[in-house]
């Protein structure tokens, strides 16, 4: 798996600066430890859906409400439900460094964040390749909590994909996921390549410390 150094440094708070050699070595050692002990897993399910008006859509009778996602889905043929996690060992590493070495704690946090992102991209790239043969294109990942899709949508999403049983991610009462390094997303399957702004440029919070230029 390719981990983008620039992203790791951004998450760790280097604010565009290059760390010194000792720090870079530390990062390399941590990457090695993490890659050898963390096992990422993912699942997806290819489903049909029906939109209902401008702000809802249904999957197997289960409703989801979001004007933004519903509008995206207007041009989609089907939908992928996607979930990925770095598993419980990633949280143990964080616990370990939170008590024993605080700089490694922050660096581990940064590496894991990049790892789940990069892993999800890798899996989705594979899916994109597969669906291209069918003439379908993946839309950007759209997760509960984005824009006007409430975080509580996670509950139904988890049931539809049987996430807890299959990759061991669970929800707390506030719909936050454990292990912490986990991702779920709706991915529309459209008939044309999807092109829109996404990532930082799609976000309204312009004063964010971690915003990419």
């Amino acid at each position: 798996m390719e981990l983008r150094q620039s992203e790791i440094l951004r998450y760790a708070g280097f604010r565009g600066h290059t760390p010194d050699e000792a720090m870079l070595k530390k990062i390399e050692q941590l990457k090695e430890e993490i890659l050898s002990s963390v096992t990422p897993r993912s699942i997806f399910k290819d489903v049909t859906f029906e939109t209902f008006g401008d702000e809802s859509f249904f999957i197997s009778g289960v409703a989801f409400k979001s004007r933004k996602l519903t509008s995206q889905l207007k041009t989609a043929k089907r939908l992928l439900l996607f979930a990925a996690t770095l598993g419980p060992e990633s949280d143990r590493l964080l616990r370990k460094y939170s008590v024993s070495d605080r700089s490694k704690y922050v660096l581990t946090q940064a590496i894991l964040t990049e790892m789940i992102e990069s892993y999800s991209n890798e899996i989705c790239d594979g899916l994109a390749e597969k669906y291209k043969n069918e003439g379908l294109y993946l839309m950007p990942r759209f997760s509960a909590g984005y824009a006007d899709l409430e975080l509580t949508a996670q509950k139904s999403f988890f049931e539809l994909l049987d996430i807890s049983k299959r990759i061991g991610v669970t929800l707390n009462d506030e719909c936050l996921m454990t292990p912490s390094k986990s991702v779920t997303a709706f991915i529309g399957l459209g008939t044309k390549p999807f092109c829109t702004k996404n990532g930082c440029s799609a976000c309204d919070k312009t004063d964010c410390e971690f915003r990419r230029e």
């Binding site: 399910k45 290819d46 598993g87 419980p88 060992e89 143990r92 700089s103 506030e174």
Partner: protein, 788 residues
Amino acid sequence: MSFLDKLGKEILIFDGAMGTVLQKNGLLAGELPELWCFSHEELILNTHKAYLEAGADVITTNTFGANSLKLKDSGYTTEQVVRQAVSVAKKAVSQSGREAFVALDMGPTGKLLEPYGELPFEKAYELYAEQVKAGDEADLILIETMGDLYEIKAAVLAAKENSSLPVLVSMIFNEDGRLLTGADIKTAVFTLEALGADAIGLNCGLGPAQMKGFAKTMLKYSSLPVFVNPNAGLPEVVDGVTCYNVSAEEFSDETEKIALLGAAGVGGCCGTTPEHIRQTACKCKQIKYKPVKEKHFTAVTSYSKTVLLGEKPVIIGERINPTGKKLLKQALKDGDLDFIAAEAVKQTDKSSDILDVNVGLPGIDEPHLLTLAVKKVQSVVDVPLQIDSSDITALEAALRVYNGKPIINSVNGKQESMQSVFPLVKKYGGVVVCLTLDENGIPETAEGRIKIAEKIINTAAQYGISKDDLIVDTLTLTVSTGAENAEVTLDSLDYVRHTLGVNTVLGVSNVSFGLPLRESINTAFFTMAMQRGLSAGIINPLSDSMMNAYYSFCALSGYDENFESYIANTTQSQSVTNEGDVTLKSAIIKGMESKAAECAKKLLETAEPLDIINSEIIPALDEVGQGFEKGTVFLPGLLMSADCAKAAFDVIKLKIKDSGVRQQSKGRIVIATVKGDIHDIGKNIVKVLLENYGFDVIDLGKDVPPERILEAVKENDIKLVGLSALMTTTVVHMEETIRLLNRECPEVKTMVGGAVLTKDYAENIGADFYSKDAMGTVRYAERFFENK
């Protein structure tokens, strides 16, 4: 005939899927299948009957998720659902006219247990206990599709303590042969045998072809009957519907092969149908079952891995033990579990295979503290633990919450000791340290100690504890009080290991007590003991000379191929790199942790503790802090310096403790991540920095309800509270907390931080200060307490 009369005597046929059958009949995603025992009783009854007619000897109740968490909003209680499901299954058996058994089915709770998730072990136990009690009409309990050893332990204890039915445990392994929480098959086998399961198995996740290899591994290690219930292949999604595509014929060809490997039971899981089971029964019932052979391993396990004793000697880290350690004593009195956790990490970084955990101090609530310490340590390291206490209540409390098969330290030859410790070993499982002393003290001769070892081994057998689960400690006595002491210890050790065939353990360092250059004697004695048959040494793994002796021994004894371990681990006395004159201040600024502690030690020879803090540490922290604020130092660098300052403080604290001078606190602050939120990195960083700057921090952790924060504020007379929240959805709880504090303790100020917060937002929810980073919090706290 009872189920146990048949288990492990012939090949038993288990039933197939229930869930996927219900889905075919219209069960929707999110609907609770367990409730169909009421709404679709006929369908459930007929499904059971179809499996019985197909030849199943064991049918499982439709109760996979029938726990109070999942049934919360269903309108039914666990008791109602379980009783109904068991009665439907029993009806099916009686109508079928077959002799078959009803298994009370229990699956995962659906929540991850602490420390991975939020469900406390004790709560998981209660959830299972409810199901067990309601299922008392069943013939056996089947705990299945389990992916976490800790959750399995909660379920098995609940089953054993609330019923006398046989308990079978079946697990779901990933393609890589590991459980969700990391245990490999071998580790799962040893842990479940220790817990007293009657049979163990594999189910779900994989098809029979993929499961065959795993079954073989399980049979290699298990002394218990093994049963295997695969899916009808791997799930495939076609048009949004999950399908399992292995045909009944193909499925039964594979299950037949699994039965030939030695499985005591076969059946099916997701996607299997009565036809899969019928063909499986046809083929497997003809096979003559060969009963499983007893295996002989001395194994201890953590949540994820196994350490075998009796091969290469292993290292048990001794440092979590307050005897002679002032800082640890203080940490225990303060309930500072992070200190203990850090001590654990240090020892595993130095390749300890197992860690001893002892928190015995006069006047301390040992059962409570030992439980917390075990929970904390096992949440940060992945090695097995040796639970060490002379307080039998503490021992039991800790054994209960331990995740794996531990070493239990210890039993001795006194009747009273054996009578109280062996029942715990039997119940919770473990390898127990046997001290060769009894009512008459420690025998002076090797023969005397061997006699006690034999007595302990024989008594253990009466409790059903095999000698595989014993490690004998022939007791290290101080050589300075008797020159023959070492020889007696080693002679008896040699005999126990090679003649009695029982593994051995020694605490090593006692041998040199009262002598100069103790390490020199210790390493020699340690090497001699390994040569005579020591299976495990309880030593200080931070001692380079002890570890070098260990690596040298392993290299010379053929335990270290190509001397890899020796070359990788042996440390020479650190070559002094020319770093010029390092002062404490520069060590902290540069983030050189070991140097910082060293410099602090040196300075203490000539300077007063408080002077060192004021003239070296604080200026260093200030310089780094200002660099951070200016953007020339970055978060990881800031924290490296913070850890260095902490290392120096630890050294200085010791001295201050000795001198009796009380260190002035700059003020006490409560910090917490608010209710519902589990993101605590920001809060943890703030804590480290505040402590560095001399504040006392009461850290309430994450997901903390407003009431608990208020309680802590009142209890400790707190004037400043720091709150963190990462999500828009949890900021509401931050607001709620501030409102509560304003109402109940209007004089208390709040400072807040977190990714979604802004200055305006913070003002809106009534916070007194918004901090954009950790240093901001320090500066505000400084201003706050200066003005007071």
